[in-house]
């Protein structure tokens, strides 16, 4: 079991000694028992840190955000940033290292194990509690999840309440870390690609229908993009204007910004947006599932990522975020790569 007091103590020590410029971790949120990401900069606040199944966020995102923030500072604080990482967060960190977006010295990783369990899916909990508010959600024994409702303790089987991504996860403990809390229990999900395979078993027409219904709902709020630690480009293909503008940029250069995708949430544009997003994440997505969690319309975004994840594994034997030294999926090749699809 992760002893949160150990994490708090280490966070406190790091802050007191000035070894880090802050600790990104989970603290209790304002509404119900749901944790929120927080940047702790005062040692005494380290006591607020929590680790429970509501710690759904991928904190690698905040490493990216903080890095960008520091880059804007005239006198950047060069000290590393400490960050609590779960298995998927740590794999995201690995991809960021692989892509040299961050250096290893820039982060102190407080690795927390998911305790042979995972984080919960808010929708599933809400459904199970019939709208009642959970007061507290914590890890139980054997991967079970304990939910306290109106001071009544209820125990749920992980299958009932865990996020799908956790039920399909093989890395429920950090793969890169400076400190490790909890146990390394290797999980073997029975069918990590079952949902992908199910969709594949549909006829083309049915698949098309499925995705049309999904894509039609997209509001283009870009929460899926914004929450993704891999979407750290300065300028996105869907941005209508260029962020690479300096005072010296000429009007002609500005006119060169290509509008690949219209801003309107037209079905076709939503499709292209999500396709580009998926392709850009090929070999980079660590399936933290945040994109799908944050989607206000509940679009099955993971099904796209998961498909490419499976193809990367099946065709190229590649798993994202496991080796920060290896070349990326698409910046390397094997002579023996499949080509039976080529005429």
């Amino acid at each position: 079991m992760v002893k949160i007091s150990d994490v708090r103590q280490e966070a406190k020590r790091l802050l007191e000694k000035g070894k880090v410029r802050g600790v990104v971790g989970y603290v209790p949120g304002t509404r119900g028992g749901w944790a929120i990401p927080y940047l702790i900069q005062e040692a005494e606040r380290a006591e607020q840190l929590v680790w429970d199944p509501t710690c759904v966020h991928n904190l690698a995102l905040f490493v990216v955000e903080e890095k960008k923030e520091q880059a804007k500072q005239k006198e950047p604080d060069k000290r590393p940033l400490a960050v609590m990482v779960k298995g998927c967060d740590s794999r995201a960190i690995n991809v960021l290292l692989q892509e040299k977006f961050i250096n290893r010295e820039e982060v102190v990783l407080l690795g927390v194990s998911c305790e042979n369990s995972g984080v919960v899916d808010r929708r599933k909990i809400t459904h199970l509690l019939h709208g009642q508010q959970a007061g507290e959600i914590r890890f139980g024994d054997n991967g079970n999840i304990v939910v306290v409702v109106n001071s009544e303790r209820r125990i749920f089987d992980p299958q009932e309440v865990l996020a799908d991504r956790c039920l399909e996860c093989q890395y429920n403990f950090p793969v890169v870390f400076d400190y490790f809390y909890g146990e390394k229990i290797k999980k073997t999900p029975p069918a990590p690609y079952a949902q992908v395979e199910k969709l594949e078993s549909f006829s083309l027409e049915k698949r098309r229908q499925f995705w049309e219904e999904e894509m039609a709902r997209c509001l283009r709020c870009y929460a899926c993009r914004s929450v993704c630690p891999m979407c750290y480009c300065a300028e996105c293909v869907v941005d209508p204007i260029s962020f690479a503008v300096e005072p010296t940029t000429t009007a002609e250069e500005k006119a060169k910004k290509i509008k690949w995708i219209e801003k309107s949430p037209l079905l076709s544009e939503n499709f292209v947006y999500h396709l580009v997003r998926a392709i850009h994440l090929a070999g980079r997505c660590v399936d933290c599932g945040e994109c799908e969690r944050v989607c206000p319309e509940g679009i099955s975004i993971r099904l796209l990522n998961k498909k490419l994840e499976r193809e990367a594994l099946r065709l190229f034997n590649y798993v994202a975020g496991t080796d920060s030294q290896a070349p990326s999926l698409l910046s390397t090749f094997q002579e023996t790569d499949p080509e039976d699809f080529i005429w």
Binding site: E99, F101, Y232, A234, E235, F243, A244, K256, T332
Partner: protein, 651 residues
């Protein structure tokens, strides 16, 4: 400002006009937004056609010209020259291919015309964003680095030096000469190898344009075509060549004996030695590995006896930097390692020799002064077996390729053996006889017919010793019977392998190797002496097994390729290269990983393109997740606009 574009539609006689309604193409284009002028003409590439383009550029003040005609592979340069003569930048002229990709492949005139219009409109959209570019000028260091001092390196060096190009010749051994200097006679004329090589060795060493580094190795090469910087490590030889008088006193007092590499271990040498009498530079070398110690206290006998005080124990390794404009790899070969040939008793029985050892036996300067004697008992072998393809043409166990020289030198060996041992019998086991060179076939036939050498087609399965004889078990596949020969000596025509340092050198020069480890040529037929790395050339066996005449020819070829680069005041490189948008680059280095030419590197977390190395393939552009790198004049925007036109009219 919007470009003023002119469109010139060629009839190409009826080649285009027969299928494409060129008048309609010109008319449609004249109404296309931003088109200043559009016209058709019977032969645009003719002088009147070109003159019309030139006149219209000036008259209409055009700053973009699209010629709709044949494939750009044919007349792009013609029309760009014409545009240039009217004051345009060559990149303000583009070709729309409406012949090979349109009129010649379609029959339906209406559809072909429609397609020709689209193609031309697309090129108009492309040219709108074309930048005026100038060829990238690269200064040239008029010097060449040649790695390897065998016949390939020597010949290249001489050809270059005689073309007034300074040469830096690096040889890792104490003397130049390579394997050729070890040979006795050369096929098919049987002239003495040393006699024909030593004049060249002397010439190269005395040539004012040649700087020779022996006992040296290339450690590092940076830069690019025209501008390489090489770091050369010169190993200390502890003997000052200028003072050494070759009196041999040192060698006589030296207490250490080690196998002599030059004789392939058939003789010994001292720790301080001269590899062979004609060595160049003509000096002794102290083999520090073998020497009991450079401290006088340990031995120092040589130092004591050396009157001119040429021996200097304080010599240090030295790293020398040389700037050169081109590099020639002439690193030659090594024989296939002994340990791989256990079935023939090679390395186990002293009388199983490899081809090079046999050359030494045959050589007048060799261990036996040219007499053929068995290393074991110094008896003349009366029965001798030559085994060809030892380690070659055997994809399962050894090397899959043919080592190419063995058929000929085995024929030579057998012939020379008969010259020495008139009453001896020579057998040759072979798979095929490959004697494709000038005079080669005749040479082999003479060995068989005049010398009575017995050629047996088949493989040898085993060689073992029994009662002082080497028993050779083989099979004659022509007669279909097993053969046992009780021989006095066995000579293996061992496969040749790329020189042991080839892999390291390939990495250091960023030159590709083929699957056998030989340096890969840029094109197997059309660019056999160039590597895929601009400014790095190949000569001799380093590229593939070959004999002396081929090596000399290739050396000459490599030399002229070097001259063609270094004779120019500056190199011109295509400006269609990748460019980084630094504000978008995040320094992930994926472009660095995919660039086939190592043209991209990271500096301060941003990608940087070396425009001289970049070939403009654009693999980086498709790899970059942030569209932070693209190739000039074929940008994402240009592709997007072309797509827009080609697919336009979603109405």
């Amino acid at each position: 400002m919007r470009k003023k574009i002119g469109v010139f539609v060629c009839h190409c006689g009826i080649n285009i006009a027969g299928t494409v309604d060129v008048k309609t193409v010109a008319k449609e284009l004249s109404q296309y937004p931003g088109i200043e002028y559009a016209v058709d003409y019977v032969y645009m590439c003719s002088d009147p056609g070109q003159n019309m383009i030139i006149e219209k550029i000036m008259e209409k003040k055009l700053d973009g010209v699209v010629v709709a005609c044949c494939s750009p592979n044919l007349h792009e340069s013609t029309f760009r020259r014409a545009a240039q003569s009217a004051g345009l930048n060559p990149f303000e002229c583009e070709i729309a291919n409406i012949r090979e990709q349109c009129s010649w492949v379609h029959k339906d005139k209406e559809k072909a015309t429609e397609k020709a219009i689209k193609i031309t409109e697309g090129v108009v959209e492309k040219i709108r964003w074309n930048e005026r570019l100038q060829p990238i000028k690269v200064p040239v260091t008029k010097r060449a680095l040649i790695i390897g001092g065998g016949i390939a390196g020597i010949q290249t060096a001489l050809d270059l030096a005689n073309s007034d190009i300074e040469v830096v010749l690096v040889e890792k051994n104490p003397s130049i000469g390579g394997h050729m200097i070890q040979l006795s006679e050369t096929f098919p004329t049987l002239d003495c190898s040393q006699c024909i090589l030593t004049p060249k060795m002397v010439e190269v060493s005395k040539h004012p344009k040649v700087k020779l580094y022996t006992y040296s190795e290339v450690q590092e090469v940076s830069g690019y075509v025209g501008n390489f910087q090489a770091k050369i490590l010169q190993k200390p030889r502890y003997v000052d060549p200028d003072k050494c008088t070759l009196c041999d006193e040192c060698s006589q007092v030296c207490p250490v004996v080690v196998p002599n590499e030059f004789d392939l271990g058939l003789t010994g040498r001292k720790a301080v030695y001269i590899p062979f009498p004609q060595a160049i530079p003509a000096t002794y070398t102290l083999d520090i590995e073998a020497c009991p110690g450079v401290l006088p206290i340990a031995c120092g006998k040589c130092w004591d006896v050396c009157e001119p005080k040429a021996i200097n124990f304080d010599m240090q390794p030295e790293v020398i930097e040389e700037k050169v404009g081109a590099v020639v790899v002439a690193t030659g070969y090594d024989l296939y390692d002994k340990k791989n040939m256990a079935e023939y008793g090679y390395g186990k029985y002293p009388d199983v020799l490899d081809g090079l050892q046999f050359e030494r036996l045959l050589s007048a300067s060799g261990p036996t002064r040219g007499k053929i004697l068995r290393p074991s008992d110094h008896m003349e072998p009366k029965e001798i077996v030559f085994i060809q393809c030892a380690g070659s043409r055997d994809p399962e166990l050894h090397n899959k390729y043919c080592s190419r020289i063995c058929c000929m030198y085995t024929a030579k060996h057998a012939k020379l053996y008969k010259h020495h041992v008139h009453d001896g019998q020579a057998y040759v086991f072979y798979i095929d006889i490959r004697a494709g060179g000038k005079g080669y076939e005749e040479f082999v036939n003479r060995s068989m017919e005049e010398e009575g050498v017995l050629y047996l087609r088949g493989k040898v399965s085993k060689v073992f010793e029994e009662n002082g004889k080497l028993v050779v078990w083989g099979v004659d596949t022509l007669a279909g019977q097993d053969i046992e020969i009780r021989a006095d000596m066995v000579v293996l025509a061992m496969a040749i392998r790329p020189s042991s340092g080839a892999e390291k050198l390939a990495k250091l020069l960023k030159v590709a190797q083929d699957s056998d480890g030989f340096f890969a040529e840029a094109h197997p037929k059309l660019r056999p002496v160039e590597s895929l790395t601009a400014g790095v050339f190949l000569a001799g066996v380093a590229q593939a097994p070959k004999d002396i005449p081929d090596t000399v020819s290739q050396a000459g070829g490599a030399a002229i390729k070097v001259v063609s680069i270094l004779s120019q005041p500056e190199l011109l490189h295509s400006p269609l290269v990748a460019r980084v948008n630094k504000s978008l680059c995040t320094g992930c280095g994926m472009c660095v990983e995919v660039c086939p030419f190592s043209a991209i590197s990271l500096h301060e977390d941003k990608a940087e393109v070396n425009e001289v190395l970049c070939e403009g393939c654009g693999t980086c552009a498709a790899t970059c997740l942030r569209a932070a790198i693209e190739v000039k004049n074929l940008t994402h925007l240009q592709i997007y606009d072309m797509l827009g036109v080609y697919l336009g009219g979603l109405r």
